[in-house]
């Protein structure tokens, strides 16, 4: 199997459901890296990420008959993995909500921007310094759980709005709202970070 530009071989759902091991190996081959990365991003810990990775494919293997084929297989795997990751988080912090929990505790008013500093004018090399990029990672990590997962699926893993909404079992509108919140919150953290570099030169009054 070549990874150089050629398309990955298509997976036959029929064969998967018939218990074809080679097809299952193909499914693992094509998706395990993304699942591991997603779990690592959500959990921030390699051991936990590996547990989620294994559990995701064990469950996929066990429940392939339940997969209805309406979404992509990769979306379905992301969904299993996200739920597994959230279960682990809930064990650590009992107040974490399931992705299936549709009660929107976060749909009150949007936090208004507090910081108005025009760091958009900063030169590219300063903006993209490795220190800044490391800070961006930290700021993502610090987002509230459901905003963080939404953000990772959409912006880091590059899922479409529809796919990310399917993974989280929420509407596309709710997905967009969460993404918007996550971005505004990140903007706020980054503004705090860049503020020092302007030394009190605050724009807009």
């Amino acid at each position: 199997m070549s990874q150089n530009g050629s398309k990955p071989p298509p997976i036959s759902l029929e064969a998967l459901k018939a218990g074809d091991k080679a097809q299952f190996a193909l499914l693992v081959e094509q998706n395990s890296n993304q699942i591991y990365r997603l779990a690592l991003r959500i959990l921030g810990n390699e051991q936990d990420a590996e547990d989620v990775l294994q559990e995701t494919f064990i469950k996929a293997f066990r429940h392939i008959q339940d997969f209805d084929g309406r979404s992509r297989l990769s979306t379905w795997l992301y969904r299993i993995a996200t739920n597994e990751a959230l279960m682990l988080l809930r064990k650590r912090k009992p107040d974490t909500l399931s992705v299936d929990d549709t009660t929107e505790t976060d749909d009150g008013e949007l936090t208004e921007p507090v910081q108005i500093v025009d760091w958009a004018q900063l030169p590219e090399d300063e903006l993209l310094s490795s220190e800044t990029l490391a800070y961006v990672d930290q700021a993502i990590e610090a987002l509230p759980e459901r905003l963080k997962i939404t953000f990772i699926l959409r912006e880091v893993e590059g899922l479409s709005t529809l796919e990310a909404a399917e993974v989280l079992n929420i509407s596309e509108a709710a997905l967009k709202t969460r993404l918007s919140r996550a971005r505004l919150q990140l903007r706020e953290s980054l503004t705090e970070y860049f503020e020092g570099r302007f030394e009190g030169k605050v724009y807009g009054t």
Binding site: A22, A25, V28, E29, E46, E50, L53, F57, L133, R183
Partner: protein
């Protein structure tokens, strides 16, 4: 005061606006507002930069370590296929 109310109303649409996926009428509203609200202009510019920055952090993509992959294949009883992939 009325001015602040406008800022707040548009806030929820800014994310889609910077993606260029907001509805046309909303875009028009936002642009009209931005023309005389410097604060919101700064928020839009820095929000756009935020999205850009996040997308710039991606190159250091995490790759699953080989041992993790080996253990995964073992757990799944797929050792026979361990060397078939890239």
């Amino acid at each position: 005061m009325a001015h602040n109310e406008n800022c707040r109303q548009l806030l929820g649409s800014l994310s889609e606006y910077v993606d260029g996926t907001a509805e046309e009428s909303i875009c028009a509203d936002i642009e009209r507002h931005l023309a005389d609200c410097n604060n919101c202009r700064v928020v839009v510019d820095t929000l756009r930069r935020t999205v850009y920055l996040v997308r710039s952090t991606r190159p250091e993509e995490t790759v699953m370590p080989a041992e993790v992959r080996d253990r995964l294949y073992k757990v799944l009883n797929l050792e026979d296929y361990l060397n078939s992939g890239g």
